[in-house]
């Protein structure tokens, strides 16, 4: 797959919005048709540029949610930041047929390649699910048998992104998924609401003894907390890759 090596200057691609899908009350997936897209790896990001009528432009970085495809279609999922400059436009105003510009792919570290065969532990906090979803989708697209587990921390049952697709990937593709609810859990859920702790890490994630590669993505405080738990439980820091959002928040 191209995109691992960046050769020459990344150019801006004028793309067309081809589909929109609400993930939650505040998050939306945007499907784009990108002419001449060089391809990407799961976990990589793009710069997205929107331009006002007077030429004023704003650029933000977003993780790619979709697996690499050869037809130039690519999906981003964006959380609305209440005071944001760009995300309210993307999640509320943008319509099918509208144009935005993309530049990328960006980042060569927080990536999963489909020739990785070792166990993979994914840990997402909120919108941190996006690059990890790209990895899960890439694994399915490549028919990889790499053992994947996902710990997904959300506020409540209504804040799960990609819910039905994750259920299908769990049953059809054997991705082990554990949801952690921090504010409100579903009825009869065995664990009271709360953040990920050492017990959750011990019970629901790959043990350090199988030498998983770990990808942790979410707000800074979440990533600091989880990475600390994982190193305390014996995971080698070199095997833990992190991507942090905020505290200025979720890539406004």
């Amino acid at each position: 797959m191209a995109g691992a090596a960046v050769l020459g200057r990344l150019k801006w691609h004028l793309c067309t919005v081809v589909a929109l899908r609400d993930e939650t009350a505040t998050a939306r997936t945007i499907a784009l048709q990108v002419p001449d897209w060089p391809g990407h790896l799961a976990g990589q990001r793009v710069d997205l540029r929107v331009t006002a009528g007077d030429g004023y432009a704003a650029v933000r970085e977003y993780s790619i949610a979709s697996a690499p495809r050869s037809d130039g279609r690519l999906e981003l999922s964006v959380e609305r930041v209440p005071d944001g400059e760009v995300s309210p436009y993307l999640t509320q105003d943008l319509a099918v047929g509208d144009r935005v510009e993309l530049r990328g792919p960006i980042g060569g570290w927080f990536v999963w390649r489909d020739d990785q065969i070792e166990p993979i532990q994914l840990v997402a906090g909120g919108s941190g699910i996006v690059p990890l979803m790209a990895m899960i989708r890439s694994r399915a697209a490549a028919r990889s048998a790499a053992p994947f587990r996902l710990l997904y921390s959300v506020r409540n049952p209504a804040s799960v992104w990609y819910l039905h697709e994750l259920q299908a990937l769990e049953s059809d593709r054997g991705v082990g998924i554990t949801y952690i609810y921090t504010r409100a859990a579903p009825a009869n859920w065995p664990r009271p609401p709360g953040r990920i702790d050492a017990t959750v890490v011990a019970d629901a994630s790959w043990p350090a003894s199988v030498s998983p590669t770990c990808y942790v993505c979410g707000p800074t405080s979440f990533v600091e907390h989880v990475a600390g738990l994982m190193t305390s439980s014996g995971h080698s820091p070199e095997r833990i890759r992190t991507e942090r959002f905020g505290p200025s928040g979720n890539r406004p």
């Binding site: 200057r9 929107v50 331009t51 006002a52 600390g228 820091p237 833990i240």
Partner: protein
């Protein structure tokens, strides 16, 4: 540029000039590739070497006996946030490099946790770079690079290596961590050198 129908945007305050493509934040976001290392002060050391031999080394006590400077500077992260007027305390690289005679043109900065970044030695000299250990009046938090980090505010902030443990002076340029992972070799925010090829 192509217009995006219906996008209005906000114009920044006219009195502030930021590098191209940056926006202002009052916060201090964190960008790190892995877990935050926690380095006990009694184990901390800073070494300047030439790739073969140590040229100078300080432990925390001897490092903190060096003269320090108060620094007020703007900082710019490649992920597009900028923060103005940040205040730091640190030891100037001019002080650390003062007794070292070297023809080296390049530096590879090394961190606890394995992170590296490269820059020309010229960018470390002449009141442009510090090893900082206080931010905003308090000891530098581990997530922001404490106990001590490099501060080279005229370059994108990934060059200001957190958890610094050493600087290797080299006669050739050697790419660091992000520089091998798609980011620009030099990283001047005013020339918007974000990614390799920019």
């Amino acid at each position: 540029m192509a217009q995006s129908r219906g996008f209005v945007g906000r114009r920044g305050a006219a009195t502030v000039t930021l590098p191209p493509g940056q926006y202002l934040t009052e916060e201090f976001p964190v960008l790190s590739a892995g877990p935050t290392p926690h380095v006990p002060l009694e184990e901390w050391a800073l070494t300047i070497d030439d790739g073969k031999n140590a040229l100078r080394q300080w432990n925390w006590k001897s490092f903190r006996e060096l003269p320090t400077e108060a620094i007020t500077t703007d900082i710019h992260c490649v992920t597009r946030w900028s923060k103005l007027g940040t205040t730091w305390e640190g030891v100037s690289l001019d002080t650390l490099l003062a007794d070292i005679t070297s023809d080296a043109s390049f530096a590879l900065v090394r961190s606890y946790g394995g992170y590296t970044t490269n820059l020309p030695v010229a960018d470390l000299r002449n009141k442009k770079a510090w090893i900082a250990f206080r931010f905003d009046g308090v000891d530098l938090a581990a997530e922001h690079g404490g106990p001590a980090r490099l501060l080279v505010p005229h370059l994108y902030l990934w060059k200001s290596a957190k958890w610094v443990r050493g600087i290797t002076l080299l006669d050739h340029d050697e790419a660091g961590f992000w520089e091998r992972n798609g980011y620009h070799n030099y990283g001047d925010p005013w020339r918007e050198q974000r990614y390799s090829g920019d």
